[in-house]
Subunit: 478 residues, 2 copies
C-alpha cells in the first residue's frame, strides 16, 4: 500500500467517525467529538454509539458499518477490551486509519501489550494505519481538524510536531495558543503500536506548509531507520528534538510511563549528531527553536551585534553569547564612524552598542541598520527598544499637562513607531539574510500583533541564535 | 552621622523635592515628578524650577532653599554641569539624601569622574547621602514612592532589590508588575559615587518587610566589606545575586557601560560562596528565586516527589531534577499502599506518581497529601493539575449538551476546585515545612489570583528547588 496516502487519511480526512461517542460531557467520547466540531472541521462527522440517536445535533450511527459512504479516519474511545472487535469492523469498512485514544494497552503491562499486538495485527492485515493506542489525538491545520482530548485550538502555522507524550504535546500546543505560535500538524504518537515517530517525521517533512519539525522523544525502537530518515530530512528542514529520559531518574520514569526503553544518552547524542538534529534542552527551548526556524534567517557566522537601550542588558547578553559559544566582536572603524553621527559623543564606541538613553527610536533604527550592514556582524539582538513605549506611559497618565485626547494620540503614535520598527526589522532580515531578535521583557505574546518574533529575556534570544548557527553549519555541509 | 537614619530619608521620606521639574512631558524632570504623584506618594512634593509657578497642579519653588520646612529627599534631573551648585544648595538646606538622575559623570570618562568626585565631596561634607549619579531612581512600598524614570508601579511585596543597571532593574520591576510579583524596596545604584551596593544590602536586610534580597552586580569596589556584610546577612535572609560581566565580552561591556572593573569570575565565585550568596544564572532565574524565597519553605533534603497528570512531564521533570543534583527517590511501601487505594490498578507504583488520566482532582489532592507526608520526600512538584480546567473547556463550549447557564456553573465550580487545591497546597506547605511547586504551562501571571506560586515550565520549578536546597544547607550551617 502507499503508506503516505493512508497517512493522508489521518491529517486530511474527508469523513471521520467517532466510535464511543457519548452524550455525557464528562466522557472522552463526548469531549473529542465536541473538539472536532468546535475546532471547525468541515468534512463529514459520524458519531457511533448503538444506544443513541443524536449527539450534539449530529445523527448517530449504531456501528461503523452502518455509516454511508467512505470513512477515512476513525477515532476510537471505547474500553480497550472491545477495540479488537471495533478494529475488525473498521477493516471491513475499509477505513484509512484509526486513532486509538483508549488506554489499557502496552503501557499497562504484558497483558495490555498482547492486546495491542492483536489490534495492530488486525489493522495491518486490513491495511488500516493506527495512531496510538494511548494517544491524545491529532491536529491538522490543513483540515481544520482538532481531534484531540484537550480543548486546544492551535493557530495555523509552519511547525509540525510529533510527541511521544500526549499530555506534554497537547499542553505545548496550548502553550503556543496562549502565545500566538502556529502549527501545521501535530500527532500524539502514543504507544506507537503501528506508526512510529519517524513515520510521522517523514510524512511531515514532505508537507509544503511545514518549515520545521519538532519531536518530543522518550525512546526510538529502530535507531537505524530513524537515523536514515532524519539525516536525509535535516539537510532540508530543521528537526528539533527534546529527548527525555536522559538521566537515570528520567529513564526510569519513561519506562514506567510508556514502556519505552529510553536507551543510553550517549547513543542518542551520537545518533542526533550524525542526523544533524538540533537538540533542545528544555520544553521552552524546543518551542523557541520552533518559532525561530520558522521566522528567522540562519546565523551564518558566530558574531553577534548587540544594540541595547540599557547598559546592563548589554552586559548580560554579552555574557550569554560567550557562554553559548558565540562572539561579540569589536566593530570596524567605518561602523563606529557611522554610529558616531547618530549617538551622543560619550557613547561607548563598542559592541554592545549602548544607546545611552537616546529616546528617539528613528535613531535606534539607524543604528540597527548600521549593524545589519556591518560585515563583521552575522546576527543581532536588540534590547528594550521595541515595545519600549511603557517608558512614556507617564506622558499619558492623565494627570500630566496633556489632554486625554492628546494622550490617546501619543499612544497611537508610539504604537505606530513599534510597528514601523517591526516592519523595518523584517525588511533588514530579508535584505541582509541575518537574524535580528528583539527582546522585550514583556509577557510572551505581548508583541503578537507586531508580526515579529520577540523573546522576553536576552538569555533565550541568545540560545536561539546559537542553534541557528549550529544548524547553518550542518546545512552548509550538505 | 547615623548612616541608616539618612538612608531612611531615601526610602521613607516625609518631603521630596524634584530639582529640574519640567512642564514638558518628554523631559525626565516631568516624567519623574508625574511618576511620584501617580505612584501615590503621600508626603509633600516640591517641584523646583526658577522659571515655572505650577506643574501638574503643584506649586513650584524657584530653588531648594525656598521650600518650606524640612526636605528629606531631593531628586536631581538637571544637566550634570550644574549639579555641584545644586548640591551646595541641598547641603545648605540640610536635606537627608539626593538621588542624582542626571548622567554625564564617571560613566562618560575622566572629566565626568572628576565632576562626580566633586559632587560627592560636597555631599559628604554636608552629611548628605547620594544615590547615583546616573541612577534611574528608587522605589519604596512603605512610602508608596515611585521615584523612577520609567512608569512602573510595583506591587507591594517582600523582595528588596539593588541593581547596578537602572534599565535592567526597572525592567525587572516591570516584569514583576506584569506577573504579579511584589517588591518592598528597590534602588538603581547608578555609578555608586557615594552609597554602594553593599550599603543598600545592609539597610534592606534590616527591613522587616523584606524576606529576600536580590542584587544585579557588575562590579564591587570593596570586596572585603561586601563579603563581611553579606556573610552576616545571608545566615538570616537569602541574598540572590545575578553577576554580570562574567565573561570576557561581558566584562568589556560592563567596563564601557559604567566604568566598573568587573574582576575575575573566579574571585567573585569564591566570595559569593564564602558569603553564602545564591547565584542566579539568568535574569529570569533571579526573579524566580526572589519569589521562591518569599513564598516557599526551604528544601531540607534533595529528594523530590513528582506528581504528574501526564507521563511525559514526569520524565522531563525527573531529568531536570537529576541534572540539578536533586534526587527522585523510590517511594516507601506504605506510601505505595496508600496510593494504591486512590489510583487505578495499573498505575506505575513509582516516582513520578503518574495520575494516569484520573480526572477527579480530589484524588489528585489525596495523592499530594501522601507525598507531602512521606518521610522520603523533601519537596514536591505538581504537574498539570492546577489550572487544569482548560481540559474541560469543551464541556462548556456552548455546543455541548449543556446550557449556557449550566456551563457557567461548571466553570465556576472548576475555578473553585483550583482555589481549593491552591489553599490545600499552602496548608500542606505550612504543616510539613516542605516546598510544593505547581507547574501550569499557562502564561505567567495566570494563577495570580490563586494566592500560590506557580511556574510555567517544570525546568524552572526544578532550578528553584535546587536553590532552595542549596540555601537550606548554608543556613543550617550557621
Amino acid at each position: 500500500m502507499d503508506r503516505f496516502k493512508n497517512i493522508d487519511a489521518i491529517f486530511n480526512p474527508m469523513a471521520i467517525a467517532v466510535i464511543g461517542a457519548s452524550r455525557s460531557p464528562m466522557k472522552w467520547g463526548h469531549i473529542i467529538l465536541a473538539n472536532i466540531i468546535v475546532g471547525g472541521y468541515k468534512g463529514k462527522i459520524y458519531p457511533i454509539n448503538p444506544g443513541e440517536t443524536e449527539i450534539i445535533g449530529l445523527k448517530v450511527y449504531p456501528h461503523i458499518g452502518s455509516t454511508p459512504g467512505k470513512v477515512d479516519l476513525v477515532m476510537i474511545a471505547t474500553p480497550a477490551s472491545i477495540v479488537p472487535r471495533v478494529m475488525e469492523e473498521c477493516v471491513a469498512k475499509h477505513v484509512g486509519a484509526v486513532v486509538i485514544i483508549s488506554g489499557g494497552f502496552s503501557e499497562t503491562g504484558t497483558q495490555g501489550a498482547q492486546l495491542e499486538q492483536e489490534v495492530v495485527r488486525i489493522a495491518r492485515r486490513g491495511e488500516v494505519l493506527v495512531v496510538g493506542p494511548n494517544t491524545m489525538g491529532v491536529f491538522s491545520a490543513q483540515a481544520s481538524l482538532c481531534a484531540l482530548m484537550p480543548t486546544v485550538r492551535p493557530k495555523e502555522g509552519h511547525i509540525a510536531f510529533v510527541s511521544q507524550s500526549g499530555n506534554l504535546g497537547t499542553q505545548m500546543l496550548r502553550y503556543g495558543q496562549d502565545r500566538g505560535v502556529g502549527f501545521a500538524k501535530f500527532v500524539s504518537s502514543g504507544n506507537e503500536g503501528d506508526l512510529h515517530c519517524e513515520d510521522y517525521v517523514e510524512y511531515f517533512a514532505k508537507d509544503q506548509k511545514t518549515k520545521v519539525l519538532l519531536a518530543y522523544i522518550e525512546g526510538i525502537d529502530d535507531g537505524r531507520r530513524f537515523l536514515e530518515i532524519t539525516r536525509e530530512i535535516s539537510a532540508r528542514k530543521p528537526i528539533v528534538v527534546l529527548k527525555a529520559g536522559r538521566t537515570r531518574s528520567g529513564a526510569r520514569a519513561a519506562k514506567s510511563h510508556c514502556g519505552a526503553l529510553a536507551g543510553s544518552s550517549q547513543i542518542y547524542d551520537a545518533v542526533f549528531k550524525q542526523a544533524g538534529i538540533i537538540k533542545a534542552s528544555t520544553t521552552e527551548e524546543m518551542f523557541d527553536l520552533g518559532r525561530a526556524f520558522v521566522y528567522l534567517p540562519l546565523l551564518r557566522g558566530k558574531r553577534v551585534g548587540i544594540l541595547t537601550w540599557g547598559g546592563g542588558w548589554g552586559v548580560v547578553t554579552a555574557d550569554a553569547c560567550e557562554d553559548a559559544g558565540l562572539e561579540v566582536p569589536d566593530l570596524p572603524g567605518e561602523s563606529i564612524q557611522e554610529l558616531d553621527k547618530i549617538l551622543p559623543p560619550y557613547w561607548c564606541r563598542g559592541n554592545p552598542v549602548d544607546l545611552v538613553g537616546v529616546l528617539d527610536r528613528a535613531r535606534h533604527l539607524k543604528c540597527l541598520e548600521i549593524l545589519a550592514r556591518c560585515e563583521k556582524v552575522d546576527g543581532m539582538i536588540v534590547l528594550g527598544t521595541i515595545t519600549g513605549t511603557s517608558f512614556f506611559d507617564s506622558v499619558i497618565a492623565g494627570i500630566s499637562e496633556v489632554s486625554a485626547e492628546k494622550g490617546e494620540r501619543i499612544k497611537k503614535e508610539l504604537e505606530k513607531v513599534d510597528k514601523t520598527f517591526a516592519n523595518r526589522i523584517n525588511e533588514l532580515m530579508a535584505r541582509f539574510k541575518k537574524p535580528i531578535i528583539p527582546v522585550t521583557m514583556m509577557p510572551e505574546g505581548s508583541a503578537k500583533t507586531l508580526g515579529i518574533l520577540t523573546f522576553p529575556t536576552p538569555e533565550r534570544a541568545v540560545k536561539v541564535l546559537a542553534k541557528l548557527f549550529e544548524y547553518s553549519r550542518h546545512s552548509d555541509r550538505q
